[in-house]
């Protein structure tokens, strides 16, 4: 067996038993990168020397017993919107093309303290605004299953890197589906935990009330293990919640007897790809055969999640992105007269079209005269959506549905019509508005050879329900990979 085929947890086990060295694993990943990265463009930055140096240090600490955790020695890729001390962090934008942070985000610190070796920083949609990784200033990432197709987004580089074995696992961030959708398009597992579970300290903000960091990885066991490591209370993030129940691996139980699973009819409406629908409903049947109680229901309000989301996310983005002013860090325009022109030219040259579009919309919906009609209205609709989920979770342990209405589109098909692109987020966006955890895992392959994702959502702080259901489904499904096409 090629050591690249191990999951993260399997690899750490082999390293612990001294069957594989940390350097072997890093070298294997770097060799794979040499072979496939030119075509795929998963990374913005690859830190070969740093990874090899870190491999030696981590190995020593494993040998001394200082790193004994389930991820020690495993090479990881980090989405390029999480600050990494001394390593370029661009958010896939020109405006941060020269930004080398002097600190690391808390999630990255947690991984390093667990013995992770950072391979590099993965490509993404600029400032995480997009669903295809095509808005990156550093070129699109391609889907390893078929390079004519997008990997999804915004964490497309992370998902593609995991699918192509250019790392063992990756961190992504999810504001409207940016972990779950690329995971589905690339045939890997991705999870957005409950809002406030993973510290956002050092995550370059997009929509602060929606952003969450989470794992993108090869299977559900890796997913629970990684999440357990990165979920810590952090006073540096004012929204961080002190949780006592982050022992997520305790939910890796192959038993769903009596579990109540709701399937929202509204997630299977117009515009839904038949193949995706069939694969997702087959997954529901699998859980039913294992003893879960499956019931269809009407969630309601689903179509209103998209306009509410784009109002709120753009408003928050317009405020968060004010910090990019050409003074403290990042790009500054070459020629200008006075402060104001410097601001305007720097930002106009530094941001790409999709980012500008959302900053403009956000500035508008927050401006006096429009604030009540748009921004406050969206916050009220958010309250209604949350209430609809509260009602659903009073009846069900888990909500099961698709991750996206279709499989990965072709490169270049999505960007021409923004609203059409936004509609593709319909199945993931509500979880962000309501703060809910959601997991995406592969449940089939389309006729044209692209993976299909299954989404399981739980009530806030009930990650264990969805991990348990996902694990039970995965056990029944068996291994899933590109070789199964």
């Amino acid at each position: 067996m090629d050591i690249l085929d191990y999951t993260a947890v399997e690899l750490a086990g082999r390293i612990k038993k001294k069957e594989v060295s940390v350097k072997d694993a890093v070298m294997a990943v770097l060799d794979r990168i040499d072979k496939t990265e030119n075509e795929l463009n998963c990374y913005v930055t690859i830190d070969r020397d740093g990874a090899l140096m870190s491999a030696e240090e981590v190995q020593k600490k494993i040998d001394r017993g200082e790193f004994a955790g389930p991820l020690a020695g495993v090479p990881v890729a980090i989405k390029d919107n999480m600050c990494t001390d001394g390593m370029l962090t661009t958010c896939s934008s020109k405006i941060l093309s020269n930004f080398v942070p002097a600190f690391s985000s808390q999630a990255v610190v947690n991984l390093k303290e667990a013995g992770a070796v950072i391979i590099g920083k993965t490509n993404m949609d600029e400032f995480a605004m997009g669903s295809t990784t095509e808005t990156s200033y550093y070129g699109a990432t391609k889907n390893p299953w078929n390079t004519d197709h997008v990997p999804g987004g915004s964490s497309g580089g992370s998902a593609a890197a995991v699918a192509a074995n250019e790392c063992y696992y990756a961190l992504g961030s999810d504001t409207g589906g940016s972990i779950r959708q690329p995971a589905a398009y690339c045939g890997v597992v991705g999870m957005k935990p409950t809002y406030s579970t993973v510290s956002r300290y050092g995550l370059i903000a997009y929509g602060s009330s929606l952003d969450q960091i989470g794992p993108i990885c090869k299977d559900v066991t890796d997913c629970a293990t990684i999440l357990e490591v990165i979920s810590t209370y952090d006073p540096k993030d004012a929204t961080s919640v002190k949780r006592q129940d982050t022992d997520f691996t305790s939910a890796l139980i192959d038993d769903v007897k009596g579990m109540k699973i709701g399937v929202p009819k509204d997630y299977f409406g117009d515009g839904m790809d038949e193949e995706v629908k069939d694969a997702v409903l087959r997954a529901a049947e699998v859980l039913k055969s294992k003893g879960a109680v499956i019931e269809e229901f009407e969630l309601s309000l689903v179509k209103y999640a998209i306009p509410a989301y784009y109002t709120i996310a753009s408003a928050e983005a317009s405020s968060n992105l004010e910090r990019f002013d050409g003074i403290k860090y990042g790009y500054r325009t070459n020629e200008y007269e006075g402060l104001h022109q410097m601001y305007k030219k720097t930002r106009s040259e530094g941001f790409g079209p999709e980012v500008k579009r959302r900053i403009m919309l956000g500035s508008f919906v927050l401006s006096s005269g429009y604030y009540d009609a748009y921004y406050l209205k969206a916050l009220k609709v958010k309250a209604l959506i949350k209430k609809a989920f509260d009602e659903a979770f009073s009846k069900y342990d888990v909500i099961l549905g698709p991750v996206a209405p279709g499989v990965a589109p072709k490169l270049g098909e999505s960007l021409c019509d923004p609203i059409k692109m936004y509609l593709g987020d319909i199945d993931t966006i509500s979880a962000n508005l309501a703060g809910l955890p959601g997991i995406s895992l592969p449940c089939g392959i389309s006729k044209n050879g692209l993976p299909i994702g299954l989404q399981l959502m739980g009530d806030c702080f009930k990650e264990k329900n969805i991990i348990r259901a996902a694990y039970a489904y995965e056990q029944a499904r068996g291994k899933f990979g590109r070789e199964d096409r």
Binding site: L339, K344, K345, S348, K356, L376
Partner: protein, 97 residues
């Protein structure tokens, strides 16, 4: 409800957003914003009388700490990324003339 975004509105939003758009970009921004706002107007189909706007899904409180310095002098690191610095400070262009 059809939204009409005037030239003045785009100009004003450009000032708020600190973005300088050329004429073609302005035209495009007008179209994009019009279609987005038309789309967002769907929200008006919902009756939200007496609904409290929800900014956070959980009650969020301020996180207070004692007023004690815990970090060290990190000036060099903080300035490392500055496009221009002078005498240990950020250097900004002329703000008035």
């Amino acid at each position: 409800m059809a939204n009409v975004i005037s030239d003045e509105t785009i100009e004003y939003v450009g000032i708020l957003a600190k973005l300088e758009l050329n004429d073609a970009e302005k035209e495009k921004a007008k179209q994009d914003m019009t279609s987005m706002l038309d789309y967002i107007d769907q929200l008006n189909e919902l009756d939200t009388t007496d609904v409290e706007p929800m900014s956070h899904v959980f009650p969020v409180n301020n996180v207070f700490r004692e007023d004690i310095v815990t970090n060290t002098d990190d000036r060099e690191n903080i300035l490392k990324n500055a496009p221009e610095q002078k005498n240990g400070m950020f250097n900004v262009p002329k703000t008035f003339s």
